[in-house]
């Protein structure tokens, strides 16, 4: 009997969501009130802007938005989050143990939040942290999580890319709690400045002996994050060596942009892995994407095809990237680059 009434609820809820979709509503409300908790991505000093995209996604589901900040010496981040439009509550734990976000330490905190507050939805930006932590948390709740959501259709229906973005699946979840990671480039960023959320500290025992952080090798750069940059210059196998990427950096500097790379360039050891754009690397959608010496493999295109303007420069006129580029130049990258850099620099100066 319980199974029958639950499935009837699901059918009714999906009927409601389909009617609302038909009426093209921007915001959807559950039959019961939805309550969202957004997991903040940050570096203890500043909030990562992708969190603002996750908050926007949450606002499509509910008006009751809380944000969880776990960090170490992260008061700045707590303050920043509490000023974001639409956020009612900021829960935080400022603890040495959260200097690095190990899923074995973080998941228990999320589970505690759930048992105390009964959220209906958990959202995180689909960063390395989000992807690492959320599925573990979901399994602890016996929930099937939904990754890399690009559209919220209703409180239980979401669109996500599959097959490297060559298809889009619309999925409906019948779990009582929805655990979701969102693709930041698919949602606007929530505004900062006029919000005034309550902040409350949470106490949690985070000792665990399963996993210990040992060391890291992070790229140091003055350039913006790939996920936040308005202009990205990407090099592929055609750049031939890591030294040649300096030419791309010069071009990126004109715009204050970022430099990306294809899997081929990373595999060949030209540049480190954090620069990889693609199906399993970073997904970006800048205003301007200039790809040099990039053939345009399906897996690379998956990571950049939502860029507003795409420019392809390659000596191979058959390169697949030309098929989706707005503008292309066929020729030797090492001849074109200096001329392009000089002329764009002159333009930008004007």
């Amino acid at each position: 009997f319980f199974f029958n009434s639950r499935s009837m609820f699901v059918r009714r809820a999906s009927y409601i969501s389909r009617v609302m979709r038909f009426n093209n509503y921007q915001r959807y409300y559950a039959s019961g009130a939805s309550k969202c908790l957004v997991f903040a991505e940050h570096n203890n000093e500043k909030l990562n802007p992708v969190t603002l995209n996750a908050i926007s996604a949450a606002r499509l589901i509910s008006e009751d938005i809380s944000v969880l900040v776990l960090g170490s010496n992260c008061q700045n981040v707590v303050d920043e989050v509490s000023s974001v439009d639409g956020v009612s509550n900021v829960l935080y734990s400022d603890n040495q143990s959260f200097n690095r976000l190990l899923p074995e330490s973080v998941s228990p905190v999320l589970e505690k939040c759930q048992s105390e507050q009964n959220y209906t939805h958990f959202l995180a930006p689909a960063t390395a942290n989000g992807k690492n932590i959320f599925p573990r948390f979901a399994a602890k709740l016996d929930v099937q999580p939904i990754s890399d959501v690009t559209k919220v259709e209703s409180d239980n229906t979401f669109v996500r890319p599959i097959y490297a973005g060559n298809a889009l699946a619309t999925v409906e979840s019948s779990d009582n709690v929805k655990i979701i990671t969102i693709r930041p480039t698919a949602f606007d960023a929530a505004n900062k400045g006029s919000g005034k959320a309550n902040t409350s500290k949470i106490e949690c025992d985070v000792s665990q002996d399963l996993s210990t952080w040992k060391s890291e090798e992070l790229a140091k750069s003055e350039r913006p994050d790939l996920t936040a940059a308005n202009v990205i210059i990407t090099g592929g196998r055609g750049m031939k060596s890591g030294e040649n990427f300096a030419m791309l950096e010069k071009l990126a500097d004109i715009f204050g942009g970022a430099v990306g790379a294809t899997r081929a360039a990373v595999d060949d050891g030209m540049v480190p892995n954090d620069m990889q754009i693609g199906q399993t690397g970073k997904v970006v959608a800048p205003q301007l994407y200039i790809a040099i010496g990039v053939s345009g493999a399906i897996q690379h295109i998956a990571g950049m095809k939502d860029s507003k303007i795409i420019v392809a420069i390659n000596k191979d006129e058959e390169a697949p990237l030309f098929q989706i580029a707005d503008y292309g130049l066929v020729g030797d990258a090492f001849a074109i680059l200096p001329e392009l850099t000089e002329k764009l620099a002159a333009r930008q100066k004007k």
């Binding site: 998941s107 399994a139 599959i162 490297a164 999925v171 090798e217 790229a219 507003k308 333009r347």
Partner: protein, 261 residues
């Protein structure tokens, strides 16, 4: 117990593998919106799973693993994928036969049953399948088993004591290294290793290796799904523009047509 001698202290490793549409195949969405067309399309072992099998076989070659068990869940054709893993060096296979569309949560529960039977110290999985791009199963299995997890691994080093494993991971800012308590679930990223091709002699040898056949019912796992796929469609196509003649033309277009300067 801390001495590594032949098969004495060495561990059992379970590797999960998935049969997917080949990474180079063109994806066609069915006109009725029910899914992606897999009829007459080349199928292969998921590339990340190949990397997982390779890493497991290398652990055996280093004397750290005494046995590598390749596990796949899916229809009859998944057997072919298991045979490939056996040809790469896995010792035996387990095929959980089901035609059900499996969600990562169900797969993790099936793996739990297998892990309880096989008692491995390491479970190696690809970080994501290139069909559903979920990137969830490893993390969920670790949760269900209450084990440590090392996802997106670019390097794996088992400690001499065989109680811990060092995993270097590819993260957004670069690399980080963790020390995980064993048993652990490790998911593989692109640069962990370069998988070997199965040689013909090994393919022939693989035919003699055993594949155990099981069903979800026998393992006591309910594989019904909390997720319903309502529809699958193609994204809006991006139409290509034009190939230009000169740098001057490009700069002009970027300023006056695209408005990005």
């Amino acid at each position: 117990r801390t001495r590594r001698r032949g098969g004495e202290a060495a561990m059992r490793v379970v590797v999960g593998i998935k049969r997917v549409i080949d990474y180079a195949a063109k994806i066609r969405v069915k006109p009725d919106g029910s899914g992606v067309d897999t009829a007459n399309v080349k199928m292969s072992m998921n590339p990340f799973c190949e990397i997982a099998v390779e890493e497991a076989v290398r652990l055996k070659e280093k004397g750290l693993a005494k046995e590598v068990i390749a596990v796949s869940m899916g229809p009859q054709a998944s057997q072919d994928t298991i045979r490939t893993a056996l040809a790469m060096g896995a010792d035996r296979g387990v095929h959980v036969l089901t035609d059900a569309k499996l969600q990562p949560l169900s797969i993790a529960k099936l793996f739990k049953s297998i892990v309880q039977r096989e008692d491995p110290k390491i479970v190696l999985l690809g970080k994501q399948a290139i069909d559903d791009d979920c990137n969830q199963t490893g993390q969920m299995l670790a949760a269900i088993m209450d084990w440590s997890q090392g996802t997106f691994a670019s390097q794996v080093a088992v400690a001499d004591c065989q109680e811990r494993v060092s995993v270097t991971r590819e993260v957004d800012g670069g690399l980080e290294t963790l020390s995980l308590k064993l048993p652990a679930v490790i998911t593989t990223d692109l640069r962990l290793n370069e998988p070997r091709y199965a040689t013909l002699p090994n393919i022939m040898k693989a035919k003699k290796k055993k594949i155990e056949k099981l069903t979800p019912e026998e393992l006591g796992v309910d594989v019904s799904s909390q997720i319903e796929v309502l529809s699958v469609r193609e994204p809006q196509a991006r139409v290509g523009g034009k190939v230009l003649e000169s740098v001057d033309e490009l700069v002009d277009k970027l300023k006056n047509e695209a408005g990005v300067l």
